[in-house]
Amino acid sequence: MTDILEQIAHCIEFGKINKQSPYPPDMKGQDGADEYTKAALEQGVAAGDILKKGLVPGMQKVGIKFRENKIFVPQVLMSAKAMSTAMVHLKPFFQSGEVVRKGKFVIGTVAGDLHDIGKNLVSMMVEGAGWEVIDLGVDVSIDRFLKAVEENPSCIVGLSAMLTTTMVNMSTLVTTIKEKHPNQKVIIGGAPLNNDFCAEIGADFYSPDPQGAIEYLDALVI
């Protein structure tokens, strides 16, 4: 069992989606996350173990390497694609309740901002860390964030902004969320942001990279 879980983790770490995928070149023609996950289930490996001992460790290595500038956005996107392919096989187990995730994470790019690459990276890596992600997309209004919070009690909210002209919308959004739901945790990220801005608007946490967001989220549920 350990071998196949290590293979899954390896495929996630290096972005090997399936046998047909030409990437990475040194794994051309080899099975990928798709085949190994399917095989693991057929061998009777519990879906929860595939998530916790295969996908999560693989994505954790991706997050750390990305933080340390050892890999870059294209490689992270390939890992995320490999993980999504594996997740397709696990979906029935999430739906049946056999596999329980760490919690719910609601994420979106704030109103007026159409950038999605940073938000997508965080979204994919948080999902790979074992969280259920509800991605509201880009240019998300205050009402849509509030609705998502109300529909997903105990979720954590993540806000993204790439522009100085839209980061100010975070302030209004955080204030509104906290007024209606004082205990709601809100984390923020995006190129023009920093810890000072986070403190100024009353958000709970700022992370300059996806792995920091994952570490904060995981600490909340331990």
């Binding site: 870059f72 956005v73 002209t165």
Partner: protein, 292 residues
């Protein structure tokens, strides 16, 4: 920005108030994308939006290099260069602007798609960038002919890729564009937003005259990697420093950067674009030091 008169006249108003050393033609990154046939939507003061028009290698046969003089938005920038020349003469250098090959490919095909395809379908990305280089050179030449002394090359997405991919795919194209601009008698200013520390050894090989450094890049490290052959431009943080700090602090940080870079080839600037909401006195705080 759709009217070159407004761009030039507002920049000259800034020049009168601030007294900086060059004026520019940059607005949004979709001049060339529009010329290729994409639709650009403007909405008040918000950033313009442009949907990708290239999905796969099959679409490249339909993608034709535009005549930059005939397309509305590229022609508008060329006219802006001429208008600057008319109003300012030769006293103030005009910095023209083109999109770099990776940035333009991403504008045409989508950022996420390009970042995945550069690993999964490198032939597609390479062919698309080759097409972009042709237009980049046409557009650069037109702006030089209209009066630009310097051409800025914006290739922001490069900060998000690894050094090997940059070296294999992008560096030769940057060198080709930069050599071409030099052949036309102009200088180059390469701008890649974000942390480019991992690219510095390769960027030293681009043969660019000026390299912009964003705020997160260590200046001394960059000088060492570039062996003082390139003029480095930067790198106060446009948001946490220039927009948000008190003027005394901005002066002090400008002062420190100038002192640190004594006897090096250096231009004081923001690490990236000055933000819309930056108070005028904050920009003057950078300038006031220079005039002491």
């Amino acid at each position: 920005m759709t009217d070159y008169h407004v761009l030039v006249e507002s920049n000259i108003k800034c020049l009168e108030k601030i007294g900086h050393d060059a004026v520019g033609l940059i607005s949004d990154p979709y001049r060339e994308t529009s010329a290729f046939g994409a639709s650009v939507e403007f909405s008040g003061n918000n950033n313009p939006v442009c949907e990708p028009i290239v999905a796969s290698i099959d679409d490249l046969d339909l993608l034709k290099n535009p005549d930059v003089y005939k397309s509305g938005r590229t022609s508008d920038r060329i006219r802006a260069a001429g208008y600057y020349k008319k109003l300012l003469g030769d006293d103030i250098p005009v910095i023209g602007w083109i999109e770099g090959p990776l940035a333009e490919a991403a504008d045409l095909a989508g950022v996420n798609n390009i970042l995945v395809d550069i690993l999964m379908e490198p032939d597609f990305v390479r062919k698309l960038m080759d097409i972009c280089v042709i237009t980049a050179k046409d557009f650069a030449k037109a702006q030089i002919d209209a009066g630009c002394l310097v051409i800025g090359i914006g290739d922001a997405l490069c900060s998000q890729i690894d050094p090997e991919t940059y070296s294999s795919y992008i560096l030769p194209l940057h060198q080709e564009i930069i050599d071409f601009i030099h052949d036309q008698g102009a200088f180059t200013k390469l701008h890649i937003c974000g942390d480019i520390t991992h690219h510095l050894p390769n960027l030293a090989l681009t043969r660019t005259d000026i390299l912009d450094l964003d705020w997160m890049v260590d200046f001394s490290n960059a000088h060492e990697k570039c062996k003082n052959k390139i003029i480095l431009c930067g790198n106060l943080d446009p948001v946490s420093c220039i927009q948000n700090q008190k003027t005394e602090k901005i002066s002090s940080l400008s002062n420190k950067l100038i002192a640190d870079q004594k006897n090096t080839r250096f231009i004081l600037s923001g690490g990236c674009e000055i933000t819309r909401d930056t108070p005028l006195e904050n920009i003057l705080a950078m300038e006031s030091y220079r005039r002491i």
